[in-house]
Symmetry: D2
Subunit: 145 residues, 4 copies
Amino acid sequence: MIDADDKSPPFELPIRVYIEDTDAGGVVFHPKYLHFMERARTEWLRSRDVRLRAGMTDNISYVVQRASIHYAVAAYLDEELRVTADLVRCGKVWMEFHQQVLRVPDGVLVAEATIKIACVALDSGRPRRLPAAILALAPLPGRPD
Amino acid sequence: MIDADDKSPPFELPIRVYIEDTDAGGVVFHPKYLHFMERARTEWLRSRDVRLRAGMTDNISYVVQRASIHYAVAAYLDEELRVTADLVRCGKVWMEFHQQVLRVPDGVLVAEATIKIACVALDSGRPRRLPAAILALAPLPGRPD
Amino acid sequence: MIDADDKSPPFELPIRVYIEDTDAGGVVFHPKYLHFMERARTEWLRSRDVRLRAGMTDNISYVVQRASIHYAVAAYLDEELRVTADLVRCGKVWMEFHQQVLRVPDGVLVAEATIKIACVALDSGRPRRLPAAILALAPLPGRPD
Amino acid sequence: MIDADDKSPPFELPIRVYIEDTDAGGVVFHPKYLHFMERARTEWLRSRDVRLRAGMTDNISYVVQRASIHYAVAAYLDEELRVTADLVRCGKVWMEFHQQVLRVPDGVLVAEATIKIACVALDSGRPRRLPAAILALAPLPGRPD
């Protein structure tokens, strides 16, 4: 039996807001949060010894299939953010992440998203099985997410 | 009575894929479609004589609240795309757009999104009434979207 | 003998400034001018039937070797710019462009750059001969640039 | 007398190459190095307690006036880079930086630039005196750079 209390906190990446991330409205430009989330997923993979470029050499690439993002409050230049990456569901050829962008130090939720990623062959774009190293990271089927 | 046949086709903006839009996977980097969609909304506003910068002078800004995007097929360097912007719903302080990215010339759907935008005061970030020029563009309540 | 009066005006691409191009300082973010200049070079090539992606299929890529850019005045959201691309010098494996970003409609110089591009093999990154289609576009040795 | 041996090594910021930084040529997109260099200058300022956003509140902004960049070798997805920021010259209203992008761990030079920054009033764009906190950081006139 899976106990929710056993759940470890999701992976987190600290990210600083630079001038490149902002727009003339004075806030972080909304698509940049997808960049931040991609960085967090990449670092989560790296923390588990999966490398994107090495994957490409093996004809493996990852493409985003769906993204649903809610923008809660604006983030500003010079702020520090924490970006989480939590693999919540997984099929043979896809992964679904829940990701949050939180403001440091008060933990206020800035943005939140569900992102579905497909594993594809780099040359053809066709779906292919996730590498064993990732499948081994998949949450158990009964995981209460 | 509103007849769906009366509905005019949505606004469209042609967009070329440049090297800046692509990534090492050889395809358009997924957050760039949000850029393309923002450009189409901006040009739709411009076609109706609403200017973003002039709005800022009047303390009006627009922020994305929610975005749900489905990526159907990849787009590639040098391709030409058509990006639609269709205002489907509207409140006093928000607008909801349905947007598609279509490949030229075959019309294949590349990506599709629902984007909810809030009108805010530039200085405080608080919700404020949409300008009259935009409210006048709003679809009728009974519009069958 | 080459007469400067024979010189045709350089290729120009119109570019609109979108919110994605601006930063929290309220102006176009300085690296974006390199994007604009790259788009103008790409469209100049396209106007001469040279396609970047088709080149990649033939193992041809282009990399910037040097860029010197002078920022004269700021550009702002909603402004329209004209970006020129003028091939001023050319070797067997490189091209040098002079490029200007001009404000519409008053023609004020916004930014100006000299950009040296090398032709390389996509797989190895090693220099390779420019395609014949480009060498044919090269300015004459005596051209008074 | 100033002894070059006294010179401390320049400020360095580690930067990871993410998929967002790459293009369809498989390498880091050339304007991104200007992003990396801006981040390093910002972190150098932060290490000396100068904050960009706080400056904006005081009507202070910084704009790039000139940038000359040499691209030595390509950088690739997943690589780690070190980006230096060395203030080499300084006037009353401007700073000049020498910056390098070095590959980790072998220290190979990836790119190198001289960047001249002007201090301006955020509202008018007119030159204004550098803040005292920055002038205090300026290299001595006789510094052998």
